[in-house]
């Protein structure tokens, strides 16, 4: 293990961790904004209680997403300074614009939302959460544009004199074809994660309330169970609608990936030998044995599916790892580009990781869909089921889509290896030359321990607030009617 490996592990740990909170933030900000607006429109107290309740959970999650995001912006320079020098002319702009357009919007209006109860007029107050949501989506757009450049560089030229990639067309970077499918795929997947949290939490509380009512021989309709039932169904519907978009965008993404990064598609299936047109490459759902091409035994195989995912045709040709390796060695290994020299012939990512993360992404996403459908079915016509399976589903509903998000990123980033910027620079060439092994180890240990401890604190706090449930309703006063010296409605 050298400094490059450590820097990679550190990036992996901090990014995967950061991205546990980000999809929930994107998805929940939308749902909280919907609840808040529903309250302002209908004056039904349930909406306000739900907006405040899920707003609190949202904030507990947001806080960690925010602080771990700061680390990301610093990390490019700290651990990947040669990368930063090489692509800063292109990569820096979306990052700076993300801060200016998105971060300011999110954080300023979130402050207004948190402290706005009783201080802002109601409609304006509900609008602040919509602006927070818009901020999260804008943030996703710019950071994904930066990432898409790494997958498929466009709008640049290589300047031999300055030795770096330089921007020639910013619009091309923002409308990179990889970006145009990745953005909807990621944002809709984030909606699934946010919806999963709402669905799971509300389902758990619905079951608890309904059970308590049954134990005390009370009428369920007079408890909070119907309110949580409504919330869990809203979560399920959000998840299902988003899932349709995730599937459609993911399908297009697969085809574009096959076009611009064929090795990644081959790695998704561990397909070593090319399959010519007319034959149809199968997709293995599960495999035992090794994935090194020698003796993989697919347990379940869907004929022609890989061809369809890659080309849209069940009989389409799919190129395998061996052919692509030879082709990459020809194109890039012999190109004389000093930022490729170290790999010469090894242009293959880690196959078991790409193979399994691809399946886990799809599988966990599908499982989320199944849970959402089951929730809608089991809670139909006012039902509030209390079986223990509801509790299991409640725990699974948030976790499955969040981890599906993680595996999607693990797939796409590991599948890009050994490239840092596809075709231009390998990962080993991007690392900071002046940073010592000791420094990287120090920061990795510090971040890992800190993040671990914070995860424990966060989850405990989150569960504490889930158990408390929604606060009872209090009729709010318009700011103008409030006494100047009255205690604030909300304060730290």
């Amino acid at each position: 293990m050298d400094a490059t490996d450590l820097a990679r592990w550190q990036f992996a740990i901090t990014t995967v961790y950061h991205f546990l909170f980000v999809p929930i933030t994107i998805g929940m900000s939308l749902i909280v904004a919907v609840f808040h607006t529903a309250w302002v429109r209908t004056r039904n107290p349930e909406w306000m209680r739900l907006a405040k309740f899920f707003g609190k959970l949202f904030l507990i999650n947001f806080a960690l997403g925010l602080v771990t995001g700061i680390v990301q912006e610093f990390q490019f320079g700290m651990n990947w300074s040669d990368y930063s020098r090489f692509v800063g002319d292109i990569f820096g702009a979306p990052l700076a614009i993300e801060a200016l357009l998105a971060f300011f919007l999110e954080s300023t209006f979130l402050g207004l939302w948190i402290f706005g109860w009783g201080r802002l007029p109601e409609k304006l107050h509900a609008t602040t959460m919509w602006l927070v949501h818009i901020g999260t989506v804008l943030s996703a757009y710019f950071i994904l544009a930066a990432n898409s450049f790494m997958q498929h560089p466009v709008g640049y030229t290589y300047n031999r004199a300055s030795g770096r990639a330089e921007l020639t067309d910013f619009f091309a970077v923002l409308t990179n074809k990889v970006q145009l499918v990745t953005f909807p795929h990621v944002v809709l997947s984030a909606y699934m994660a946010g919806a999963g949290v709402v669905m799971g939490v509300a389902l758990w509380l619905m079951r608890r309330e309904a059970k308590r009512a049954a134990d005390d021989a009370q009428d369920v309709a007079r408890t909070d169970a119907p309110m949580y039932r409504r919330a869990t169904r809203i979560g399920a519907v959000f998840a299902l609608v988003a899932a349709v978009g995730v599937i459609v965008s993911g399908d297009v993404q697969g085809k574009i990936m096959t076009e611009v990064q064929p090795m990644k598609m081959a790695a998704a299936e561990a397909l070593y030998d090319s399959v010519p047109a007319g034959q149809g490459a199968p997709f293995s759902v599960l495999t035992i044995g090794s994935l090194d091409g020698s003796h993989a035994n697919a347990l379940i195989e869907v004929p022609g599916l890989l061809s369809f995912l890659a080309t849209g045709d069940f009989k389409g040709a799919v190129r395998g790892i061996n052919d692509l390796k030879a082709e990459y060695a020809q194109t890039y290994g012999a190109s004389g580009n000093p930022r490729v020299a170290d790999v010469a012939t090894a242009f293959v990512p880690n196959i078991p990781t790409t193979y399994w993360s691809f399946r886990l992404m799809i599988g966990l996403g599908m499982a989320t869909v199944a849970i959402a459908l089951a929730v809608l079915w089991l809670t139909r016509k006012g039902r509030t089921p209390t079986s223990k399976w509801m509790a299991y589903a409640a725990v699974a509903a948030p976790l499955l889509p969040v981890f599906a998000n993680s595996f999607g990123w693990i797939f796409t980033e590991v599948g890009r290896q050994p490239w840092l910027v596809f075709g231009l620079m390998t990962t080993a060439n991007g690392v900071s030359p002046g940073v010592s092994m000791g420094e990287v180890i120090t920061s990795m240990v510090v971040f890992t321990l800190l993040y671990g401890a914070l995860a424990v604190v966060e989850i405990k706090l989150f569960l504490h607030y889930v158990r408390k449930g929604a606060e009872p309703f209090e009729e709010p006063q318009e700011p103008a009617d409030r006494d100047e010296d009255a205690p604030l409605v909300f304060a730290y």
Binding site: A63, V87, G92, I97, G111, L167, R467, P487
Partner: protein, 349 residues
Amino acid sequence: MDLATFWFIVLGVLWTGYLVLEGFDFGVGMLLPVLGGKRYASDAVDAEKRRRVLLNTIGPVWDGNEVWVLTAGGATFAAFPHWYATLFSGFYLPLLLILVALILRNLGFEYRHKRPEAQWKARWDQAIFWGSLVPALLWGVALTNIVRGVPIDANKELTGNLFTLLNPAGLLGGLVFVALFLTHGAIFIALKTDGKIRHEARQIAERVGVVAAVLAVALLLWIGVTDGKLASWVTTVVAAVALLGGLAANRAGREGWAFIGTAVTIAMAVATYFLVLFPNVMPSSTNPAWNLTIDNASSTDYTLKVMTIVALVFTPIVLLYQGWTYWVFRKRLTVKHIPEDAPLETVSH
């Protein structure tokens, strides 16, 4: 003026925005155990209420204030990739400490009030205090070192380690930032609160302000004597006058003017730093030929043009809505505005 120089100025503005705004947040955080401690509070209940008043003065705005440094970081990356790369990889451990401090401090603000237990609150109070002190100190050390020059080699890489930065001038820079932010924060508290706490904050500003003035003048003279130019001397004098004026206004009970005074002091200190730096962005103490300059560290004209358009369109919008937030939360706070803490709830499982 070429675009790269324009972006050098923009960075000066971003750092000014950050240090003026987050400067008082840091000050409030550092004063939390003082103004909310035994010396001023009558008992534990009063101390808790006072701490909550302090935290609520910055509650709605600290997060937006912090984005200024993220924007400064992003803008450095976009406009001066070599500056970003050399600085962030070279100042590795101080930046790590700053990150850890900011993480703990931000979570302190968000999580402290979410549980009623005294121990929970006390721990997050520690996080807020250290999380405010450490970045205040280290930003001072880091920025002062940048201005004074650091060992950069022919490959634009920094040689040396954490202790290279802990030289007398760097440490003095750190102390100046801490003292200035304490003064700035105390005046902010006086401006945003009423009753006892307001007067006590003013007293603190008066005392710490003198220390800040002495240290800041010493630092700016030191930097001026070694690397000063006419323009930087002008800003140094303005900084000194603004600080003395601010302290006089504070003494006279004119908190608004006092706050403007310390804000101008911080702005002029940043201006002095940037004027001394110009036309370098990170001078090399090893060999002047290896200086990172506006010229050799910047992005292409095309990138700078794109960035300029975006900045000119969106910065005024950001300033408007951020300014509006301060207007919304303009009311002075006192202990009576603090809602009663929820009683210890019994958690049902």
